[in-house]
Symmetry: C2
């Protein structure tokens, strides 16, 4: 009887919980022994929790001790195990990914939870020190070989060739890097057999697997996909909604703000213009205090004007100029 119930569908709630530590974005992960890292996770039980959000907050509270504030649904994936097969035991799991932002110092995570740098999982996304070496050295050559192999089951509607997809996602052939295409890049790497999860999920042998270096830390289930979705969404949303302040303490200097925006978006910004753009948005106001722990001249401290959320055109942080 129990087996009957479990042959149905289960909803998995997963949260990519982002916080800042030492100026770097981290996510909350659980590491069960020698297993791969996982996001905080739990099934949705509608009798206990009226909505998905409520269920998610409850799981995170139980597993990590954190009471989430800003939470945003990302995407629902139907193929967590990548393939459902007749004869599978246990329920099929559909996973709903969430992004959550926390401002507290994440050091005090409970239980088996700890904070890990998010670029540890997707290292090719960090362009703050220029183009990551692993792109030229490891990823691009393998992708180029993959691109000229015959595609198998790829009947997409706006039919793009593998080569076009490389151009768009990985800025090859002179195209430029779109920092928001985090998910597309991860999915492409998975499809090309360059993500360890693809091998784990039982995909066909790929020529590279004998000598594949670790391209970012892999994660349990489809959690790296959820993380990639979270990074995409956050990088995009920064530009048109004032979400960055969910990650900051009450008072901060403009330089701290800039460093965090850079850390999230993965590239450098032009200092003088950034300051001016931020001050012109009306999103921040001076507290009147200064911080002397700057390494240089003391800096004015600012706070987020929460009223800005009520105002029209509450845009987010503009930042076109990326210069190294």
């Amino acid at each position: 009887m129990r087996a009957q119930i479990e042959s149905g569908i289960e909803i998995g709630l997963n949260a990519a919980i982002v916080g800042v530590r030492d100026g770097q974005p981290h996510i909350l992960v659980t590491r069960e022994g020698a297993h791969w890292d996982a996001l905080p996770y739990g099934p949705f039980t509608p009798l206990d929790h009226r909505t998905l959000d409520i269920g998610l907050r409850s799981w995170v509270r139980q597993q990590t001790g954190f009471e989430l504030g800003y939470v945003e649904q990302l995407y629902t994936f139907g193929d967590r195990g990548r393939h459902a097969r007749r004869g599978d035991t246990g329920p099929h799991i559909v996973s709903v990914g969430y992004l959550a932002l926390i401002a507290e110092d994440p050091a005090a995570a409970m239980g088996g939870a700890s904070f890990a740098r998010w670029y540890g999982y997707l290292p090719w996304e960090d362009w703050r020190d220029g183009k990551p070496g692993m792109l030229s050295d490891e990823i691009e050559p393998r992708l180029q070989r993959w691109a000229v192999q015959p595609g198998q089951d790829e009947p997409r509607v706006p039919a793009l060739t593998r080569s076009e997809r490389l151009r768009i996602c990985f800025a090859m052939q002179g195209a430029d890097w779109d920092e928001e295409k985090v998910l597309e890049r991860y999915e492409l790497l998975y499809e090309a057999g360059l993500a360890a999860e693809a091998k784990r999920d039982g995909h066909e042998a790929v020529e590279f697997w004998d000598a594949l270096p670790q391209l970012g830390r892999p994660m349990q289930f489809d959690h790296r996909r959820v993380l990639a979705t979270a990074m995409s969404r956050l990088r995009g949303k920064l530009k048109y909604r004032p979400v960055i302040f969910e990650l900051l303490p009450d008072a901060f200097t403009l330089f701290e703000l800039q460093k965090i925006v850079e850390a999230i978006s993965g590239h450098h910004l032009h200092k003088q213009n950034f300051r001016r753009l931020v001050e012109n948005t009306g999103l921040v106001e001076p507290t009147g205090d200064v911080s002397t722990q700057t390494g240089g001249r003391p800096a004015k401290l600012f706070r987020f004007r929460r009223d800005a959320l009520l105002e029209r055109g509450s845009t987010g942080v503009r930042m076109k100029a990326g210069r190294v």
Copy 2:
């Protein structure tokens, strides 16, 4: 045994399928006898369909005969019936909403499916002829009375008062109308007891219900919520992705394009500037032909440059200037 299985969770896939007819946006609905309208709908069965998208396309094909092209996941709602209660019979349904865009003439829908104007369901969203009368006459007075009543279970984190929410969502107290807040507006109307679905779902008696006029056609389940989400997303996405062309025939005049953008976004645009902005994006190219069925001077026909999808900064249709 069967009952055991059904006491679990089921995933419902729902599609808001948008097409243009006579220059107006329509959605595909099914009308079963005297019941309320519904979107094409079906459960997700992982053994038959590997992903949610594939399942959705299959259901739509079966129910309407349409082979979908552009499809985008919107949101997953955990409370379709709004409340799960211990002792409920049947499975709890979690619903995944989708937006799909079709260019074909939607006249030839199969089976019980037909096309209906989308503003029939959310009439307060159409500002092309100025502010809709029903806002001032019906909605605002009722919302204002609701705003001064004591709130019950509304413990949100960035605590907004009812009055602030009215200001933001419905442009009251001199704020201006944000055309993208379609979902927030519908949710607020539901919460305030002004949507027929709220009564159907068994909410507490609201003072207005005795004399509540029909504020937009209601729909089955949470389908009006899915439609509102679709409208929000499409209005937003227009501005930064070239999705509008999914709704247009291969060749079109700039005036036709403008009329459809106006119909989707719900307000008027400045003609001369719209044309220039569109031509400057590089999204369209002249076909060389002209259309003489304009009512005036013949107009050049344009086509969408599909190459634009591959190019960086493929932005969408800019359109700040809204003038009546």
